[in-house]
Symmetry: C2
Subunit: 729 residues, 2 copies
C-alpha cells in the first residue's frame, strides 16, 4: 500500500501552489501610499486579533493536551501520543487561519488597485487570494492527516492488518489531530463571528444612524475594526471551520473503513481528498472572465459557477476510477455487506446532497425570489412585520434541506451501509479547496471596496468591487448551505464511528436515560446560540460607546482634520470577542464529557445526546443562516428600489428603515451563531469519539463488577447479538 505515501505528497503539491500563487498576489501593485496605509491598518488589526486569540488558545491547548495525555496513558487502547496529535492538529488549524488572513489582507488592497484597470483583473487578484486560502487549508489538512497517519502507523502498527488492535489504536490516536483542529476552529468561528458583528453593528449604529456618514467612511473610528472583522470572521473563521470538517470527515471514514478489515477502505477517503486537491487546482483555471464583458455581475457569477461545477464533475469522474482501483469487489462493515459500486453511488449521493443544499439555500436568500420578496412586502407595515416575515422564512427554509439531507443519509446507507454515509461526506468535501476559494474571495472583494471608499477612489473602482462583493454575498450564502450539509454528514459519520469505538451495538432512544439525553442534546444549540447572540449585542454596545466618545472628544474628527483612534476600536472588538468566546466554547467541549462520564448515563446516553444536538444544531443553523441572509438581501433590494402595492420605495423610506432592523437582527444570526452550529455539532462528536475508548473501558469494568453480583443480568446483555440490529433494519 505504497499509495499511502502519495497522500502527503498531494498536500505538498497544494502548499507549493499556495506558495507560488501567494508570491504572484504579493507581486501585484498595492496602489498609492494612502491605500497602503489603510491596508496596513487592516492587516495589523487582523494580526493583533490572531495574536491575542492564539495566546489564549495556547493555554487551552496545553491544558487540554495534558488531560489528553493522561487519558491516553491510562487507557491501553489509546496512547499519550494522542496529545501530540492534538497539538499538531491545533497548530495546523491555527496555521491555516494565519495563511488565509495573511493573503486576504494582501489581496484586498491589490484587488482595489486592479479594479482601477478592469473587472477581470480585479477578479483574478481577489480569486487568486481566495485560492491561496483554499489550497493552503486543504494542503495542510491532507499533509497533516496523511503524514501523521504514516508516522503513527510506523510507531504502533508497522506490519499489522487493518482489523488488528494495533491499527485501532493508531487511528484512535489520530483522532487527537481532528480534535485539535476542530477545537481551534470553534474558537476561531465564534470569536471571529463576535468580532466581525460587534464591529459591524457598532460602526453602523453610530456612523450611519447617528452621525449620518456613509459606510466605510474614514472618519468613523470603527471602520478599520469593521474591515478587520471581515477577515477575522469570514476568512480565518470560515477557513478553520472547513479545515476541521475536512479532517473530521476523512478521519471518520477511516475509523469506519478500519472496521471493514480492509486497508483499502482506510486509504480511499485520503486518496479522494488528495485527488480532490488536484481537481480543485484545475477548477480554479475555469474561473476567469474576458476583459470585453465589461461590468457584468452575471459573468462573474458564471465564472465561479464554472469553477465550482467543473470540480464537482471532475470529482465524480475521478472517484469512479479511485473506487474501482482501490477497493475490492465487496466489503463488510458490522455485518452489512456492500460492493464498491455501492461506495461510488454513495459518493454521488454526497455530491448531490451538497449541490442541492447550496441551491436551496440560494433560493431562500437570493434577491428577487419569493422568500426575500415576502420580507420586502412585510417591511411596508413596519419593523415588527419585517421581523416576523424573516423568522417565518428562516423556519420554512429548513424543510427542503432536511428532506434532502434525510434522503441523503438513507440513500447513502442503502448504497454502502455506514461506510456509505461517511464516504458520501468525504466525496462532498473533496472539493473543499474550490469551495473555500469561492468563499474567501467574497470578503477580499468586500475589503477592496472598503479601501476604495476610504481612499476616495473614482466611482468606477467601487462599482467593480461592488460587483465582486455582490457575487461574494451569493457564494457566501451557498457556501453556508454546503458547510451545514457537510457538517451534518460529518457529524453522522463520527456518530457511527463513535458507536463502534464505544463498544455499543445501537442507540435505543426507547431507553429513558438515552431519551432524556436526546432532549438535553437538543437544547445545547439553543443555549449556545443565545450566548453567541448576546455576546454580539454586548460587544456592539461597548463599540458604540467608544465611537461616541471619540466623536465627542477628538477635535476636528468630523471635518476630517482630526485623526480617529482606529486601534482603540480594534482593541475593543478583540478583547470582547476573545472574552466572550470562552463560555460557548466551554459548553461544546465540556457537555459531552459530563454526559459520557456521569454515572447512570455512559456511551449510549452520549449517543442520544449527540443525536439530539446534531438534529437541533442543523435546524438552528439553517434557520439562523437563512433568516439572516434573507433579511440582508431584503434590505439590499431597497438600494435599487422596490415596488410594494404599486409604489416604489428607496433607501431612507420607512419600509427601508424596517428592513435595516431585520438586517441588524440577522447579522449575528448569519455570521455568529448560525455558522457556529456546524462546528458545535462536529466538535461534540469528536470529543465523544476521543473519550469513547475510556467510556468503553469504564463500562467494561463496571459490567465485570456487576457480573459477580448478578450473573443473570450480564447474560442478557451478552445475548444481544451485535449485527442483528443492523440486519433487522
Amino acid at each position: 500500500m505504497t499509495l499511502f505515501y502519495l497522500v502527503p505528497a498531494f498536500g505538498v503539491l497544494a502548499l507549493l501552489y499556495t506558495f507560488i500563487k501567494s508570491a504572484w498576489v504579493t507581486k501585484q501593485d498595492a496602489g498609492s501610499d494612502r491605500m497602503k496605509e489603510i491596508a496596513r491598518y487592516i492587516a495589523e488589526g487582523a494580526m493583533a486579533f490572531l495574536k491575542a486569540e492564539y495566546k489564549i488558545l495556547t493555554y487551552f491547548v496545553i491544558i487540554a493536551g495534558l488531560l489528553l495525555a493522561f487519558m491516553g496513558y491510562s487507557n491501553p487502547k489509546s496512547s499519550p501520543m494522542i496529545a501530540v496529535a492534538f497539538v499538531i492538529g491545533a497548530f495546523f488549524s491555527a496555521l491555516a487561519g494565519f495563511i488565509g488572513m495573511r493573503i486576504a489582507t494582501k489581496a484586498n488592497v491589490r484587488t482595489t488597485e486592479a479594479a482601477k484597470t478592469s473587472l477581470s483583473k480585479a477578479l483574478n487578484v481577489s480569486f487568486g487570494g481566495g485560492s491561496v486560502m483554499g489550497l493552503g487549508v486543504s494542503g495542510l489538512a491532507v499533509l497533516g492527516l496523511g503524514g501523521l497517519f504514516i508516522i503513527l502507523k510506523m510507531i504502533f502498527a508497522p506490519d499489522s492488518l487493518a482489523n488488528s488492535e494495533e491499527m485501532e489504536r493508531t487511528i484512535e490516536v489520530l483522532t487527537g489531530f481532528s480534535l485539535g483542529a476542530e477545537s481551534i476552529a470553534l474558537f476561531a468561528r465564534v470569536g471571529g463571528g463576535i468580532y466581525t458583528k460587534a464591529a459591524d453593528v457598532g460602526a453602523d449604529l453610530v456612523g450611519k444612524v447617528e452621525a449620518g456618514i456613509p459606510e466605510d467612511d474614514p472618519r468613523n473610528p470603527a471602520t478599520i475594526a469593521d474591515n478587520v472583522g471581515d477577515n477575522v470572521g469570514d476568512v480565518a473563521g470560515m477557513g478553520a471551520d472547513l479545515f476541521g470538517s475536512y479532517v473530521a470527515t476523512v478521519l471518520a471514514t477511516m475509523v469506519l473503513g478500519r472496521e471493514t478489515g480492509d486497508m483499502s477502505a482506510i486509504l480511499l477517503p485520503m486518496m479522494i481528498a488528495g485527488v480532490g486537491i488536484v481537481l480543485s487546482i484545475i477548477g480554479t483555471l475555469f474561473v476567469r472572465i474576458s476583459d470585453s464583458v465589461g461590468n457584468s455581475t452575471a459573468a462573474v457569477q458564471r465564472a465561479l459557477n464554472m469553477g465550482n461545477w467543473g470540480s464537482i464533475v471532475l470529482t465524480a469522474v475521478a472517484c469512479y476510477f479511485l473506487v474501482h482501483n482501490i477497493l475490492p469487489e465487496s466489503l463488510t462493515l458490522r455485518g452489512y455487506v456492500f460492493t464498491r459500486d455501492g461506495v461510488f453511488y454513495a459518493i454521488l449521493v454526497g455530491l448531490a446532497v451538497g449541490t442541492l443544499m447550496s441551491m436551496i439555500t440560494e433560493y431562500y436568500t437570493a434577491m428577487g425570489k419569493r422568500p426575500v420578496m415576502s420580507i420586502i412586502r412585510q417591511s411596508s407595515t413596519g419593523h415588527a412585520t419585517n421581523i416576523i416575515g424573516g423568522l417565518a422564512v428562516g423556519m420554512e427554509s429548513t424543510t427542503l434541506p432536511i428532506i434532502v439531507l434525510a434522503g441523503g443519509i438513507w440513500g447513502s446507507y442503502e448504497c454502502a451501509g455506514l461506510y456509505g454515509v461517511a464516504i458520501a461526506a468525504a466525496g462532498m468535501m473533496a472539493t473543499t479547496a474550490m469551495q473555500l476559494a469561492i468563499d474567501a474571495f467574497g470578503p477580499i472583494a468586500d475589503n477592496a471596496g472598503g479601501i476604495a471608499e476610504m481612499c476616495e477612489l473614482p466611482k468606477e473602482v467601487r462599482e467593480r468591487t461592488d460587483i465582486l462583493d455582490a457575487v461574494g454575498n451569493t457564494t457566501a450564502a451557498t457556501g453556508k448551505g454546503f458547510a451545514i450539509a457537510s457538517a451534518a454528514l460529518t457529524a453522522l459519520a463520527l456518530f457511527a464511528a463513535f458507536v463502534g469505538v464505544a463498544g455499543i451495538t445501537g442507540i435505543d432512544i426507547y431507553k429513558a436515560n438515552v431519551l432524556a439525553c436526546l432532549f438535553v442534546g437538543g437544547m445545547i444549540p439553543f443555549i449556545f446560540s443565545s450566548l453567541a447572540i448576546r455576546a454580539v449585542g454586548k460587544a456592539a454596545m461597548s463599540m458604540v460607546e467608544e465611537v461616541r466618545r471619540q466623536f465627542r472628544t477628538i477635535p476636528g474628527i468630523m471635518e476630517g482634520t482630526g485623526k480617529p483612534e482606529y486601534d482603540k476600536c480594534v482593541a475593543i472588538s478583540t478583547e470582547a470577542s476573545i472574552r466572550m468566546m470562552v463560555a460557548p466554547g466551554a459548553i461544546a467541549i465540556i457537555s459531552p464529557l459530563i454526559i459520557g462520564f456521569m454515572p447512570g448515563l455512559g456511551a449510549e446516553a452520549l449517543g442520544g445526546f449527540l443525536a439530539g444536538a446534531t438534529v437541533s444544531g442543523v435546524l438552528m443553523g439553517m434557520f439562523q443562516n437563512n433568516a439572516g441572509g434573507a433579511w440582508d438581501n431584503a434590505k439590499k433590494s431597497f438600494e435599487k428600489g422596490v415596488e410594494i402595492n404599486g409604489e416604489i420605495y428607496y433607501k431612507k423610506s420607512e419600509p427601508h428603515k424596517a428592513s435595516v432592523t431585520g438586517d441588524t437582527v440577522g447579522d449575528p444570526f448569519k455570521d455568529t451563531s448560525g455558522p457556529s452550529m456546524n462546528i458545535l455539532i462536529k466538535l461534540m462528536s469528536i470529543v465523544a469519539l476521543v473519550i469513547a475508548p475510556t467510556i468503553a473501558n469504564i463500562s467494561k469494568n463496571k459490567q465485570a463488577t456487576v457480573s459477580v453480583k448478578k450473573e443473570t443480568t450480564i447474560t442478557a446483555v451478552v445475548a444481544t447479538p451485535a449485527p442483528a440490529a443492523v440486519i433487522a433494519q
Copy 2:
C-alpha cells in the same frame, strides 16, 4: 373492580358543579344596557367563530371517521368501533370548547359590573367563570373516557384479563376517543391562535399607531374582534388543548398499564383523574380575598397560588392512598419490575416537574427579573437590539426546563419504568381542572377591562380589572410552562405505548432510516411554526385594510357619531383563521401517516420521527412562548416607567417604541405557534398509536413473505431478545 364504575361518577360530579356554578354566574348582574350590548357583540362574535369552525370540522370528522372505520375493519386487533370513539372524542372536545366560551362570554361583563363594587367580588365572578370551564373540561374528559371504557369493555372483553387480546383491542379502540379530542384541539388552538392575534395586531396597528386612539376604544372597528379573540384563543383554544392532554395522558398510562397484566394498573390513572376533580373543587374554595385588602395585586396572586398549591399538595397526599389501595405490591412491565412505592414516587416526580417548569417559566417572563430587564435595557439602542435581546432570552429559557424535564424522565423511569413516566404525567394532569380555572380567569378579566373601557366606566373599575388582568398574564405564562411540560411527558408516554403496540423492541437511531426520520421529525415544528406565524401576518394585513377602509368611508366614525361595522372585522378574522388553520393541521395529521406507511420506513422509523418532533417541538414551544412573554412584559414595564442608564423612560419614548416592536413579534410566538407545539407533538404521537396495529400487521405480513425467501434474516430478527434492551440499560 367495581371501582371502574366510580370513574364516570366523578365526571358527573364535575358537571354538576359546572351546572350550579354556571347558574350562579349567570344570575349575577350584567350591568347597564350599553354593557349588555357590548357583551352581546362579543358573545355573538365568539359563537359565530365556533359555528364556522365546527362546521368545517364536521366534514373533517366525517372523513377521518370513515377512514378510521375502514382501518379498524381491516385489522383484527382493532374494530370499526374506533370511529365511533373518535366521533365521541371530537364531540366532547367541541362541547368543552363551547361550555368554556359560553361561560367566559357571560362572566366577562358580570366581572365588569362586580368590579364596580369591589376587587374581591370581581375575583369571585371571574374565577367562578374560570372554574366552570376547568371543571367542565375535566368532567367531560373523565366521563367520556371512563364511560366509554366501561361500554367498550362490555362489548369486547366482558370477562377478560388485563393481558388478554380482547383487552388490548378494547384499549386500542379507546385511542380513537383521544384522537378525536386531540385533532379538534389542534384546530381550535391553531385557528383560535390565528384569530386572536390577527385581531389584536390588526386593531393595534391601525388603532393605536395610525389613528392614535387607545386600546379597546369603541371607535375602533376591530375592537370587538380583538375581545372575541381572547375568548376564542385563550379560552376555547386552551380548554381544548388541556382536554386533549388530559385524555391522552390517562389513555397512554392505561395502554402501558394493560401490559403489566394487572387490571389495577389500568384503573389507577382514571382514579387519579377522578379524585383530582374532587381536589380541584376543594382547591377553588381557597381562591378568595377579603374585601378589606383593597386593590392589591399581591393578594389576588396569593389567593390563586393558594388554590394551586392546595390542590397540588392534596393530590400528592391522595395519590399515596390511591396507589397503596389500588396497586399490588409489585408489577412488571416489559421485563422491568417495579413496586407501588416506586409508582408513588414517580407521581411525586411528575408533580415536581410541573411545579418547577411553571416557576422557571415565570422567572423568564416576569417583570423586574433579569431576563425582562435585559430586554428593557436593549430597547434603548433600538428595535433591532430589542429583538435580539428577546430572541436570546427565549433561547436561553430552554436550558433549565429541559434539564428538569430530562431529570423527570430519567427519575420517573428509575422509580417505576415506563409506567412511571406515564403515571408522572397523569399525576401532573390530576390538577388540570384547577390549572384551567386559573388560566381561563385571565382572559375573562381581560375582556372585563375591555368592556369597562368601551362603556367608559369610572376609572376605579378599570383599575380593578387591570389588577386581575395583570395576575392573569402571570398565570398565563406559568400555565404555558405547565402545558408544555405535560405535553412532553404525555408525548413520551404515548411514545412508549406506541413501541409496545407497534410490536417493536426499541428505536435504534443508529439505523440509517430511523436517524433520517429523526431529522425529518425535528423539522416539522419549524415548518408548522412558520405557517402559523405567517398566517397571523396575512390575516392581520387583511384586518388592517378593513379598518382603514372603515375609517375612510364611514362618516363620523372618529367623532363617535358613526357606528363602526364590528361584524365585518369579526368575519375577516373568522374566515382567515379557519382557512389558514388547515395547512398546519394537515401536516400534523398526515406526516406520521407518510412515515409509518412508506416502504422501507415503518414502525421504528416512525418512532425516530416522533422523537425528533417531540424534542424539537418542546424546544420551539418554550423558545417561542418565553420570548413572547418576556417581550410582552418588557413593553408593559414602560407603562410604569423604567430606568435605563440613569434616565427614566415612559410610554411613547423611543425605547418604548422599540419594545412595542418586540411585543408585536412576540404575539404570534406566544399565542399562536408556541402553544400549538403542545398539541402538535401529542397529536402526532396519537396518530402513530392509532395506526400502530396496522403497521405491525403490515410488517408481520412482510416478514412472513421474506422468511419464505431468506430464512436466515428472520432468525436474526427473532434472536434479539425483547427485554434485554431494557435490562442492559
